[in-house]
Symmetry: C2
Subunit: 277 residues, 2 copies
Amino acid sequence: LPGIPLPDSIRFAGDIPAAIQGTEVVVLAVPSKAFRTVAEQLPSFGGAIVSVTKGIEYGTGLTMSGILQQTAPKATVAALSGPSLAIEVARDIPTAVVVAASEMETASRMQALFHRPAFRVYTSLDVMGVELGGALKNVIAIAAGVCDGLGFGDNSKAALITRAIVEIRRLGVASGARSETFGGLSGLGDLTVTCFSRLSRNREFGERLGRGEKVEQILSSRWTVAEGYHTARAAYQLGQRLKIETPIVDEVYAMLYEAKNAGRAVHDLIARDSKVE
Amino acid sequence: LPGIPLPDSIRFAGDIPAAIQGTEVVVLAVPSKAFRTVAEQLPSFGGAIVSVTKGIEYGTGLTMSGILQQTAPKATVAALSGPSLAIEVARDIPTAVVVAASEMETASRMQALFHRPAFRVYTSLDVMGVELGGALKNVIAIAAGVCDGLGFGDNSKAALITRAIVEIRRLGVASGARSETFGGLSGLGDLTVTCFSRLSRNREFGERLGRGEKVEQILSSRWTVAEGYHTARAAYQLGQRLKIETPIVDEVYAMLYEAKNAGRAVHDLIARDSKVE
């Protein structure tokens, strides 16, 4: 993060097994594409792993905690998510997030570890819901950015968000998550910030798409890929597999992987809405 | 609206009873403070009245449709609300709103009347829910603006919105509204746009408050009063009367009517949150 010096206490290491020797808690914060590769280096780790990665694995449909169950079966797993633009967290701007684990004891331990006056951590037992909210919102943010790029306004984005949270919840509940989680910080909270903030990379990706840039052009001009690009494909596949209607995800998928025109995609999305709310 | 010419077909009149002679539908779009005075001029009107005013009457706790039931008992009443910043609507930017009436026939008629390709109208039978969502979001927008004025960021606002929709729903359901309505366009949709958009007057009011201006100073520098200023007082009263906890409304009320320091109010709000989401 430009302008934010890292604490001197942080050490850098390239050898993961050596680095985690004697460690109680590991935070995994790598892009979802690299998650399995990194997670495979923790096969005998018996401490707690906190995933802050937001994504769904293409093919398996697994969230990051699902991958960890396979690659690090001895570890206790937690997921931390919520509306937390990195630069704002680094500047000590008040932020509230959720840490989820399948057992409250783990969630509470992680809460105690991460909680700060300006970084408030709430607990949840719904790992799947917290992870899916964080992952799927990146796909919606691309759609929100497309609206921006097409010159649409805040009214359009507000309507999109309202529809999106219903869609995310539907897909999430079918995957085993709790409905209420999507109304919380890791669902609705993260969705609003990602769709409205100028600082969101997924939104920006969509904005360029809406302005007429080609997907390949956008991908090649960035050294990090917006997570929503990968998640769109995995979420589309998940919806198909679970036979859940996901109109917004479908249109984002079509724009990203089938070269569908952005204006056409948004038009189709608007036109398919029913008339009773 | 600057730069938006009004259609030539619009005529201006000062005499309301004469103006509505032979009219089937009247749209009431006056500030909530003036609503009853204007509504009292429709005692024998037998057509449909569509209220687009967002407020709660101080003292009675009535929404605008409640006032109309008293002042225009022969009229059929509908409420139109949703994320619809005026300047964007005027520019034909895609917008989706809800029209609510106690009978579907009325709601459908108003839908047919207002629906346009870029102004999509959905129907609802929950008049109270649609009205309260629209009114209460203005109070929350002041709190969101205070966060902006204090130099907080989008993370803080996202957390605020997540808590706010729970508070609005609680107060709304206690008033007889349907819970689901607050997750729709007139609830969540309108709340997000009002809290995040640069164009929102209530948010701007809060921003000036957060920057340290006095309430009197802000009020005297504007020729229109942000609706949230009045609604905060009425909503606070409503919460007290219904014995519903309204922490955000309470702090906004304290800032506006008890000269509570903005930084202190936000601090108290953050501090009172519990630890399990």
